[in-house]
Symmetry: C4
Subunit: 126 residues, 4 copies
């Protein structure tokens, strides 16, 4: 049963926000936002992310590969090409893959002394 | 692939509650509840929110526009027309748009010294 | 657009757990688990909850009414008929309604000095 | 209505991470990650989990049974056969069952003094 391919090609995360400051030891406790990508197939997935903002045109595409039968937990903080994502700014994103993948969104917010965590499966397109 | 339109026209958030007090620097750390709206299309989205309560008739519609290829992170705390949403009261809401959008719900609760955060993609109607 | 009926008749929450102790002022900060039910229709919804356990037969049905165009944030802690739900025990539940509703699950855990919150839309059946 | 069978046979959790340290009394407050499995049917469910990593082949299958009309809150920390899941490492998983079940994912992170909790319904395959 482990060979089942599961997922969708198009996903969206409407809530994006990289907190502007952190507490606690790096890198585990740095405030960050992550798109967890899972590719259960036997082919590599070519993935493009587009970042949407409140008051400017979208940025991207950001391109990543998720190898066959691997997961990639991608920190938005680390995206630099074509441009970094500013901290403390509302954003959203779409994730488009050439083969089905699964996408889950997580944020660790350590702006105060204790950690706050959120997660949700991203919205799958049809 | 970035031109894909993703989303639905009708959404619901069953869990609504604006905490009645806060700790920490404003505005980042004020207790608040947000509907994150993403419009990936090339047209503006005309959106109506209706607020449901436990023991009175619904309030609204509240009208907002999400411009083409933009995201709007709407704080329920800031809604005033036709009436503000009371704090410390259970509510729920529906979000209806004339074109497909994606909706995610987030709450930051700073009633105690440390932040608590929740998020989930809203429920998409058929 | 506000008259749209949204939801499903059958829902499940696989993660249930009422923390066994609390910190902070009652009732807001008591550890609790909530099923947020939203009925956007013009008819009352008759709802039945069934509670599943690890090592005993299910409990229920628990019966509640969600009035037309109202939301009910139901604390599992407050269910007593046919029997209370024990604290500190793993459970799960199904929610069955005679008309479509929307269900979201939330827990406030105040076992430690600061609040932890979780939420997710429940799983909608077909 | 309580006899409704609800769920899917194939599920995925893209975000997996067992925090490498903990604060607070064991076992409730140990950092852990849980797959909550609900079987509402009258037959036992035979379930296989496969764990995906960033840079090695998947592990598994891990086999568990969810008895008829029972819930099992399975801690990933406790999986040992065929191999334990390392702490502090990004992973993801698929859950495949021979009959429909419901899957919800939860993590309790007590790396700092106060608890952080996250939950989401897993992604259901078609």
């Amino acid at each position: 049963m482990a060979d089942t391919i599961i997922g969708r090609k198009h996903w969206a995360i409407a809530e994006g926000y990289i907190p502007a400051w952190s507490h606690g030891p790096e890198p585990e406790m740095a405030s960050h936002e992550t798109a967890c990508l899972l590719n259960t197939s036997n082919e590599d997935a070519q993935v493009e992310l587009t970042i949407f903002f409140k008051d400017r045109d979208p940025a991207g595409p950001y391109r990543v590969t998720v190898p066959a039968r691997r997961t990639l937990h991608l920190r938005f903080n680390n995206l630099t090409d074509p441009e970094p994502i500013p901290k403390g700014v509302d954003y959203a994103c779409t994730i488009d893959s050439d083969i089905p993948i699964v996408v889950q969104h997580t944020r660790l917010d350590s702006r105060q002394a204790e950690t706050a965590l959120i997660t949700t499966v991203a919205f799958p397109g049809d």
